[in-house]
Symmetry: C2
Subunit: 221 residues, 2 copies
DNA sequence: CCTACCGATCGGTAGG
DNA sequence: CCTACCGATCGGTAGG
């Protein structure tokens, strides 16, 4: 059922929502204005009444993602405490941001492929302070909190960001490799890789699962 | 300068080469048959003489990538020795495969986004034995060679594959974040993340394996 | 006059 | 392999 008569502002928002979904699935070139119009339930000229051109629809989609990102950013930067807890908080915010709507990750990835120069500007502009802040956290950790000394903070942050992007975007595909409970396993391993490659073990493991046994008591099948 | 009169077989190969480059840069939907024809230096119907449809050009591009992959696979599976050395050899082969031509990574990523179902079949088919073999290496390492006990071998391999794909595909973009010597730093950090998240330090670090600390307590409150 | 559209069609280009 | 085209569909805009 449709919400009957929706004010004109709802059309704009609906176009952005449907365009994000269609761009994520088929790309910008693979999506016709008619597809967007059909998804919203209006005519194509109606879409072009709210957006001067298809290009403006794309910009609106990217701005929507960036706006949500800027909402998440403060929570992320103010994330809890220190050490492993702070890492888990920051990583969790990042992962949830894209996992909450994998289409965000797909659109960003397609944008990076389709318009590398524009994505460079985004990285040098709005995204850079956030990357720098997280990298500073890591550098502080290297000076006394048990991070690996040989971590390249900036490169690490970029790689982890890419990994989260790719993992959330491609989750339905990669799940074809694992048969059982694939979602939980991928998410867990993703967080483990990010954590284990940052923290030297004496600080990273709070739960003492490895009491340095001469022989591991874990039975491998 | 052009090699003057090229036999008809060269046209087919040239179409695949140029199509790979164009598909990587602009995507399948963003590339016209005329673009490919222009890049090769023939007419559009000439392209369609060698390939019944644009879809066949795409398949040929994917088969080209898969063929190269299958050339690399033996070297990769027979990679040297054990432990860290074998890891470096396997990871090195994987990374070189995509770094040698980043367009391979871009085409694969676009394919995963555009045709998830077809990519699933590829993962369940030709790619799976390779993933399973590498995962088995890791499981063997967990039983005595110093890999982290909590590594999810299959999920780890998939994530590292994704990370290498994304990092090579997006390298020109991410290099916008780092100013100096970005290439070397990203490659080095990529390998470090993969290695550090797999090997427990007493085996991975030849310098100073940490003795077991009495308290593995973390600094958090 | 404004808004929010519609039916029809613009110039170009797609795959074939 | 080229010239010459097709049915359709592209993004975008006309008048009403």
């Amino acid at each position: 059922m449709v919400a009957a008569r929706a004010p004109e502002l709802d059309v704009r928002a609906a176009v952005v929502t449907e365009a994000m979904r269609l761009f994520a699935a088929h790309g910008f070139d693979g999506t016709a204005l008619q597809d967007i119009a059909d998804a919203v339930g209006v005519t194509k000229p109606a879409v072009l009444h709210h957006f001067p051109s298809k290009e403006h629809v794309r910009q609106a989609v990217l701005e929507e993602i960036l706006a949500h990102w800027n909402e998440t950013l403060p929570r992320l930067l103010l994330a809890a405490s220190r050490g492993v807890d702070r890492f888990d908080a920051v990583f969790g915010e990042l992962h949830r941001f894209f996992a909450a709507d994998p289409n965000r990750a797909r659109v960003v990835m397609r944008e990076a492929l389709d318009r590398p120069e524009q994505m460079k500007k985004l990285l040098r502009g709005p995204v850079r302070p956030w990357l720098a802040a997280v990298a500073d956290y890591i550098k502080a950790g290297q000076r006394g909190l048990g991070h690996y000394a040989d971590v390249d903070a900036e490169a690490y942050v970029v790689h982890i960001l890419q990994l989260v992007l790719m993992a959330t975007a491609a989750a339905p595909v990669t799940r074809a490799v694992l048969e059982d409970d694939a979602k939980g396993r991928y998410d867990r391993e993703l967080a483990r890789i990010a954590r284990a490659s940052l923290f030297s073990p004496r600080d990273a493991q709070k739960e003492s699962p490895r009491p340095e046994p001469a022989r591991s008591k874990k039975a491998a099948r």
